[in-house]
């Protein structure tokens, strides 16, 4: 990391800037998902899959992943530069988020050479879409209690049970799967194993679930005597919890090594300032209303605080007291902020806030209203905010579990 070729980096950054300026798709004629959890139509899916493939082929995705597996073999600073260009040019999200942001780094971190060779390139190229089979109908926050059965029979495992809230489940070729291999283990965690499971074998079916927005994005996934090769097991039997916890660290951004590229559209908090200039209240722009102004300032202070915490994370002497404090509280802080911000944006537009996506009078095509509803995806998915508070309390502040 230390000796990054600054000249090469500058050239790379300039090239990336030019590439995204030229290739960023403009208005495909339908609403593009703002997050990877909002891919609800085949049209959206195909569009984003093509886009990811293009970005990878151009060298701007996985730039810092090893060459052997389809990456660019460059220092992280290069991928960061590509990210900056994506952000600058308002690039669409990267579709294969579960592959790029948690499965890939997990494989690079704990996977075998064989698995890396087999899976990583397909993750980057978007040829192989990944989904995550952790939550079950009866076991969500209490993930350690997952009950989907995996029984070893010869060279195979036989899977029975169901997973739920499977993002992109209906598009995925593979699933990172947490399953119970030993129901008689001394404790619930010790009975779990982790699989890199194919979704294409007989006995696996998905049923799309309609979200609160009326759209689609996740499924219930059923396993009925589904047979997968025993080689799909990652690590040893009984190590599932350990691998799952590592996965969640990548998912929640507490650990770095992601391929790069956004799984959620980044927005600038000043967008609501702009909205307040356009929205009218009592015949005047909302931005002239002192109450609105004060709320806006609160949001900007918080947005800036979050941005600064992100920067501060890289400054070791400013993280001495509780080194895991910022990484472990980041998800909680951001997702709750985004939810409240969207809610405020929705109410800011007054009567027009009553229109929803699809009505010609909807403000910004219903972006904020829909954004508010969709914001819960992040305060619930990946571990709810309440669970995040438990984690920060117990693992950062040292408060007792019981």
């Amino acid at each position: 990391m230390a000796d990054v070729d600054q000249k090469a980096l500058a050239t790379f950054a300039a090239d990336a800037d030019a590439w995204f300026a030229e290739h960023c798709p403009r208005d495909p004629g339908f609403m593009l998902p703002l997050t990877f959890m909002e891919v609800g139509t085949d049209q959206q899916f195909e569009f984003l899959r093509d886009w990811q493939h293009k970005v990878w082929a151009a060298g701007y995705l996985g730039a810092a992943w090893p060459k052997d597996y389809g990456g660019g073999g460059l220092p992280q600073a290069f991928q960061d530069a590509a990210m900056a260009a994506m952000k600058k040019h308002d690039a669409p999200i990267m579709l294969n988020a579960i592959g790029l942001n948690w499965t890939g780094p997990l494989l690079l971190d704990m996977g075998t050479e064989e698995d890396r060779k087999k899976y990583i390139k397909g993750i980057l190229s978007a040829e192989d879409i990944w989904c995550q089979g952790f939550s079950e109908p009866e076991n969500g926050s209490d993930l350690g209690n997952a009950q989907l059965k995996a029984v070893r029979e010869g060279d195979e495992y036989v899977l029975n049970g169901s997973k739920i809230w499977t993002t992109q489940g209906n598009y995925a070729k593979y699933m990172i799967l947490l399953a119970r291999t030993n129901p008689d283990a001394p404790n619930k965690y010790a009975g779990l194993s982790f699989f890199l499971a194919p979704m294409t074998v007989p006995g696996v079916t998905t049923q799309p679930i309609r979200k609160l927005t009326g759209e689609f994005g996740f499924t219930q996934t059923f396993f009925t005597d589904a047979r997968i090769p025993a080689s799909c097991l990652m690590g040893e039997e009984g190590q599932g919890w350990l691998v799952a916890m590592r996965t969640l660290e990548y998912e929640r951004g507490a650990r770095k090594g992601q391929a790069g590229g956004y799984m959620m559209t980044s927005f600038d908090a000043f967008q609501i300032v702009d909205l307040a200039k356009r929205a009218m209240r009592a015949g005047a722009p909302a931005i002239d209303d002192p109450v609105i102004r004060d709320r806006l300032v609160e949001f900007i202070i918080e947005a800036q605080g979050l941005k600064l915490c992100n920067e501060r994370g890289a400054i070791a002497p400013l993280n001495q007291d509780r080194p895991m404090g910022l990484p472990l509280s980041n998800k909680l802080a951001w997702t709750e902020f985004v939810r409240r911000l969207n809610e405020f944006a929705m109410t800011l537009t007054g009567a027009a806030g009553g229109y929803y996506v699809g009505d010609e009078n909807a403000v910004d095509e219903g972006l904020w209203t829909r954004g508010y509803l969709n914001a819960f995806s992040a305060t619930i998915g990946g571990g709810t905010s309440q669970i995040q508070r438990n984690i920060v309390a117990e693992h950062v502040l040292g408060l007792p579990k019981k």
Binding site: D27, M31, L32, D90, T265, F267, D268, A269, F270, Q271, V273, D274, L275, A276, K277, R278, I287, P290, R293, D294, L296, V297, E298, I300, I301, E302, A303, Q304, G305, L306, K307, L308, C309, E311, R312, I315, P317, L318, D321, G325, L326, S329, L332, A333, D364, E365, L367, Q386, R389, N390, V392, A393, V396, L397, G398, L399, P400, K401, K402
Partner: protein
Amino acid sequence: MSPGVGAGHMDNLGTIGFSEEQADLMEAASRFCREKSPIEKVRKLIEDETGYDDAVWREIAELGWLGIAIPEEYGGVGLSIAEVAPVIEAMGRAMMAGPFSGTTLAAQAVLASGTDKQKKHVLPKIVEGAIASLAVAEPSGDWRLDRIDARADVEGDDLLLSGVKRFVPDARAARWIIASVIHDGAPGLVMISRSLLTQENCRRETIIDETKRTYELTLDGLRVPKSALLDPAKAREAFEVIERTANLLASAEMTGACAACIDYTIDYLTTRKQFGRTIGSYQALKHPTVDAYVDYEQARSHVYAAAHSFNDQGAGEIAVRMAKAQSLKALTFAADRSIQFHGGFGFTYDCDAQLYRRRAAFHASQFGDEAWQRRRLADLLF
């Protein structure tokens, strides 16, 4: 599809930065303050008339901390106010009492608008440990240059002072007090030396933060030589520096206090038992403590961003006002919950939670509370 970003943009706001000097000072100051200012000592000094330990003060001077943000030509170290921030933060964390921030503030006022002669006279002595103070707040509650009632009128070779100043920190220990006045129809600053102060014109105030000492100063009838006037041409700039510096120092002190307050709360939550359980296992206590912690981390980030961009045109003021608003919010909430989470003990004088809550209340009263900062920020941002 997505609405265009208007004139403002998050990228236009300040960023965070941290120098090696800041890191070194943070480490040294943390160690020093922990050692010199355990909470029993803080409690003892509350009972003391001057409110600080002179021996510790002399050590601070020897360590060179009073000269951090003073140029070398005046005997200082030649760094900036950004490097003072970690020292103040450490003092805040240990609730260390004393005239450090008041003196730093007065020194910056002299630096910003003193004549060369005044700087050469005052600053090297401050570096060596002379206490100085700033008198800007008035009975109207205002501290800004456009609302000054105190006056300095020419009378022969002297200036005749009148008016009242409030919340003057450590005035009785100070060798010089820099007071804001109207002179010749315009706002200015004037230096008052110790010899003019008496029991009558310098009354100790009873304030909510008992670790601090402030005084009410009656200027009526005091006479200072004309040469005590700081450069009137630089008065406006000086007032800006004063407000910005005061708020940065207060923010750093409050984040330090906030860290201590959260630690203090956690200590109780992990030891006190009720219903056979450690109370920290109850989510009704656990979750708000996490919220306080998240607020605190953001406050700390704001503080070091404000320190870093302190001198940037525009961005500096925005960053400092944000830091003040956020650190007030964080400390207020953390301390408020700390009182509640200590139960009956939280209601006692012995529980330290009150020290932290009072600290926040005091800083809200000086140089603008949260609403004040946000009101200014609205105009700066949109």
